[in-house]
Symmetry: C3
Subunit: 327 residues, 3 copies
């Protein structure tokens, strides 16, 4: 299920589809500017007071160390104080309180709620029941949406050029919410072509394909398309959301020293991480391996997103103020 | 058991009875001033460095997400760095260390200990064994005391006027430490009248009544007093501290759309939260429902309390310095 | 196993043996200077922005509240933002990720990794696989190394004078990594003499003795040496790493009111904590009891170490800048 919402206030980041191409490109430029400023200690010290009057809570009812740390450090960069709930049970629920009441309570203390939740729809319930000026970010809602992952993926591809690129998604495309969200974002870009590369039982669902305006291709033959791709986005064959009985030769959907040389010299390899065997460790040293940078980008895109949600979205103004600060 | 202590140093917040009416009123004014300053980003940035040289530990041996977050965000507002122990077991105890030694260890690192503990008397043992300049706040000791809850309740009532008011406590008054502490604080106020509204098996204990100088009334008939009250303080029929076999018609001790209109127009409804059915969710939108504000007040009263404990208690001085800062 | 490594970059703190006597003495002076600056609120406010552009992660796969809090507060003093992993399991491992990949992920977000791990060698694997400019501190690796404990012990003894001192280690010297590391550090000091006082089954292993250049003595008779010692370093008879069947009269290896008066008037008693019965609680009030100060010193030595690892190691420069700041 992908819910398309045309009008979500800027104080909410609920699903990736709420962003127009213009939004996305501005967010990319904002991220770039922040990363440039943050190259020096001085720059980081300039960023730190910007939102130091704000307080956030990281409400993670579903464990996700990676996403948690990425958001927390994004807050730290902006001087935002963080509280956290990482338990799967909270004391108030023991006392018979509704989860909505629990979150309304926390919302009295903070300006920003970053929420990861096993239920797909709960983020909408929270968004509907809290005041408009409360900032709310969906850090993963069930198997459905994980918009900031899509934003960081988009940014990383943007860094290497978006237009007229050939992008392959490889692995379990059936259950990977990452792929589903990113495909819909890339659909906004002119001239891009998408390749969905997976064994049939793990192919992407038709609901996504039906929404695509750009060209796309469906295949289970990774080796055939490998050499043409500009971007290869690998995903795990995920067991943790339940599996299939069919035996898949996962090796056919992996990058390793025996097939990497078929890739274009300026192609890039992405992966939302964590990986298992679909990318061999020895590939990490290849210049086309960009998944660690993608991971770091996640933090910076979240810095940009939070700034944007608090009204700091003018790239030039931010940079000019920084120049003022250091001179 | 309520232990009355006439002389507790200002570096300790152990029980609500240590505060004189003068203390309480100054704390209310300090809280108000802080809330006013905190209305703007600029004001919050003025508050943040005030105690930024201090370090606190939140030592919560008993889970309480609400109180924990309220204190932690109070610290954040004042720039106090927080460490936390939220586990029910710590590694040192596994190693055979006494809990007093464990806390003496933590006290080497910090300036302020905020402690919630299942044992009623442990806070006194800690207070006796740590140096005078160590700030210690009781964030709930067993079923006995929770002084900052009483302070925030007092502040919230003060906001709407204390004198000559009629205040009803409704629900399980037998085991609610909140009610017990607040009743003794309100007892310091001239002309106030208290109403204890509960089924007989849940009525307040005589030890509290014996300490009251103000007028009070005992009843099990909520509907009868509802229309006269200025303040209605609802509490849960708490199951978590063990129950009774008698079947109580809890509906008789609740506020909902069928009886709220009997209330005075300028009355206020309070609740320490979490609630169950004693206040219906639809009441949240009524202007008399003040329990969410009461919850937020909790954070601000704690900010004021911590400032006061570190010697910043002069309301005028604080405000004048703020005016200086912004001009 | 003690691995001696002559050349470890300054961006790593892996084992106590990497430090030369010159390193150690500079670290002691740096610690002293920082403690002096930190005596006032103003001083602490001077220290706080120094590394406020840095972010750390405390990765504790093995519980250790004491060490955790000591490091976390050291970071707080320097304005370093902290993330933490205190769980014994992380979500990524559930998803089949290698622990190295998990840590490489975290390293994208931070500048400093403080790691405690049950496996002795894992710290070396991490150190080898992360870039040189990533700061990494070993906060305890299996039963093998705990270098910052050795550094804080060294500093505490240095405070009272190192040269020509007689230092006794008393208790379980077989398994106490603390004693092993400290003995090797003290071995660098001229004229010091070490006494290893333990029941035979708990005596220190020969691998340490073989590395000693200074004089030392082995004995199981605590009372005999007690009166001659300048420093008595007590350790627990640790059960948590597995025990022995032999019944030991632990009382013979303890300090209490019946034997403390045999000690020299200016001797000092140290203990890495937590203690059990080897030091009676009534000894805490004796002026020779320095273990609580030693505990606090742990935090300050860690502040100094972190500053040093980020290139702030010039004692005079630090102090002169502070004088500038306050005048």
């Amino acid at each position: 299920m992908i819910i398309i919402i045309n009008k979500i206030s800027n104080s909410r980041c609920i699903n990736s589809q709420q962003y127009s191409l213009e939004n996305l490109l501005n967010l990319c430029k904002l991220t770039d500017t922040i990363k440039n400023i943050a190259l020096t200690s001085e720059g980081l010290k300039y960023l730190k007071p910007i939102l130091s009057d704000k307080r956030a809570i990281l409400y993670f009812k579903q464990a996700s160390t990676r996403t948690f740390l990425s958001f927390q450090n994004a807050c730290h960069i902006l001087g935002i104080s963080c509280s956290e709930i990482r338990d799967t049970s909270t004391s108030s629920e023991v006392k018979g309180e509704s989860e909505l009441d629990a979150i309304k309570t926390f919302s009295q203390y903070v300006d920003l709620i970053i929420m990861r939740h096993p239920l797909s729809d709960f983020i909408y319930e929270i968004s509907d029941n809290l005041p408009d000026n409360m900032r709310i970010i969906n850090a993963g809602s069930g198997t459905n949406e994980h918009p900031t992952q899509a934003l960081l993926d988009f940014y990383t591809i943007w860094k290497y050029g978006l237009e007229n690129k050939k992008v392959a998604f490889v692995g379990d495309l059936l259950r990977g919410r990452t792929v589903r969200s990113l495909a819909l974002l890339l659909n906004k870009v002119n001239g891009i072509k998408l390749y969905f590369v997976a064994p049939k039982v793990f192919q992407i669902k038709s609901d996504i394909l039906e929404q695509l305006d750009v060209d796309y291709e469906i295949t289970d033959d990774f080796e055939k398309v490998l050499s043409e791709m500009d971007v290869i986005y690998m995903v795990r064959l995920q067991d943790e959301y339940g599996g299939t009985n069919e035996v898949i030769n996962t090796n056919k959907y992996s990058i390793n020293s025996s097939n990497i040389n078929k890739m274009k010299d300026d192609a890039i390899i992405l992966h939302p991480l964590p990986r298992r065997n679909e990318i061999s460790v020895e590939i990490d040293k290849d210049k086309r391996a960009k998944y660690w940078q993608q991971c770091e980008n996640g933090m910076w895109v979240r810095v940009a997103l939070i700034m944007d949600m608090f009204g700091i979205s003018d790239v030039d103004l931010l940079f000019n103020k920084y120049i003022e600060y250091i001179t």
